[in-house]
């Protein structure tokens, strides 16, 4: 619809409404007062400001170097750092159970599913080629909780559980878009060095 097609009344409303609105300097001064009370926009600290600020976690130099190289995640380190009697720490090999069969990965992530009545639970997703038999979960001693720890590359992963043959999403994870096959999937975000 172009302006020439506007009904005259509508055009009049538009024209009147387009008149400038007078504001006073005081309002603008209030804006600047609020702005001056703010910390400077983050760029002031440099683009990498957030990354170079000191972090609360302290690691031994060896562990720190490995972490910085992106070769192991904090979850893995926590399980393998040992201290000898001198108080120095050494880092053992990352858990090898699944690591040798998957690409070099960033972080070990735990998958959990609660199903006291089930007899078999698998996790299936883009990290294991959607193979429904490759990655079983282990049942807890009390019987209700199934878990497995997997090393995953950093990024977004889509997955679901197969519980006694039926597909199920993870109730504690965000939903992925419709899979296009009539089932729903869940999403895990894996960050370098942390897990969710």
């Amino acid at each position: 619809m172009t302006d020439s097609e506007l009904h005259p009344y509508v055009e009049w409303i538009a024209r009147e409404a387009s008149r400038p609105v007078i504001t006073d300097q005081a309002a603008r001064d209030r804006v600047m007062a609020a702005v001056r009370a703010e910390p400077l926009p983050r760029s002031y600290f440099g683009l990498w400001g957030r990354l170079v600020r000191p972090r609360p976690v302290s690691l031994s130099p060896v562990a720190g170097a490995l972490l910085a190289a992106g070769l192991v995640g904090i979850g893995v380190l926590a399980g393998t750092v040992t201290h000898n009697r001198d108080g120095q720490s050494t880092v053992g090999q990352p858990r090898a159970a699944v690591a040798s069969r998957l690409p070099v990965s960033d972080t070990v992530v735990r998958f959990v599913y609660v199903a006291p009545q089930a007899s078999k639970v698998y996790v299936v997703g883009d990290f294991n080629g959607w193979d429904t038999t490759k990655t079983p979960l282990m049942r807890s001693a009390t019987g209700g909780v199934w878990t497995v720890d997997l090393p995953l590359t950093a990024g977004r992963h889509t997955y679901a559980f197969v519980v006694d043959g039926s597909w199920s999403t993870d109730p504690y994870a965000p939903l992925a878009p419709d899979d296009g096959f009539g089932h729903a999937n869940s999403v895990k975000l894996v960050r370098r060095g942390t897990s969710l």
């Binding site: 009904h7 409404a17 008149r19 504001t23 760029s43 002031y44």
Partner: protein, 192 residues
């Protein structure tokens, strides 16, 4: 694609907006006042027309310029600063409107008064601002928003779409409906 350098180099050919942004990012807070001065009135016009009163509009404006300031490091020179600022403004007006939705019900009563008061009939020679605002206030907020962006701010549908997150055809529909409602209103009251 390469990002223009941030904060450390000020090129001669940059627009005023981009230069001011660079100055602020380099630490010169007062440079932000130049941006505020340049855009406040225009944003105020949208905010007042959209929200219907000055108090709400000022809240929205304050929040808009503050948020724009905080997010300044995300603005890239190849975006038009005014368009980027307006996106924030449109969102802020929606927030303010949502928080004060209960006030809109007041306008229904006022319309009844309006129709019964012959001296408030529209005429062609400069009706006061208040009347036009009442007319706009009667529009559904989404229709009003589209109408204002199209006919007061004179944006293209593509720009409106980027600002509101609404598809172009939906926006065209809203603008059309806004015009229909306004025309209907005219039909209703012109014979009083």
């Amino acid at each position: 694609m390469t990002l223009a350098p941030r904060g450390w180099v000020i090129a001669k050919d940059m627009s005023d907006d981009a230069a001011d942004v660079q100055r602020v990012l380099a630490g010169d807070v007062d440079a932000y006042a130049a941006l505020v001065d340049r855009y406040y009135d225009r944003c105020a016009r949208y905010a007042v027309r959209m929200l219907g009163n000055r108090d709400d509009a000022e809240d929205a404006l304050q929040a808009t310029f503050l948020r724009a300031y905080r997010a300044l490091n995300r603005y890239q020179e190849r975006d038009r600063f005014s368009a980027w600022l307006y996106r924030i403004l449109v969102n802020q007006c929606r927030s303010v409107a949502a928080r004060r939705a209960h006030r809109d019900r007041v306008f229904v009563r006022e319309e009844a008064l309006l129709l019964n008061a012959p001296d408030r009939r529209p005429n062609w020679s400069g009706e006061d601002e208040e009347f036009v605002q009442r007319v706009l206030n009667e529009l559904d907020p989404l229709l009003r928003e589209a109408f204002l962006l199209k006919y007061i701010d004179e944006l293209s549908y593509e720009e409106m779409s980027a600002m509101t997150g609404v598809g172009v055809s939906a926006l065209k529909m809203r603008v059309k409906r806004a015009c229909d409602r306004l025309r209907e209103r005219w039909e209703r009251i012109k014979d009083d």
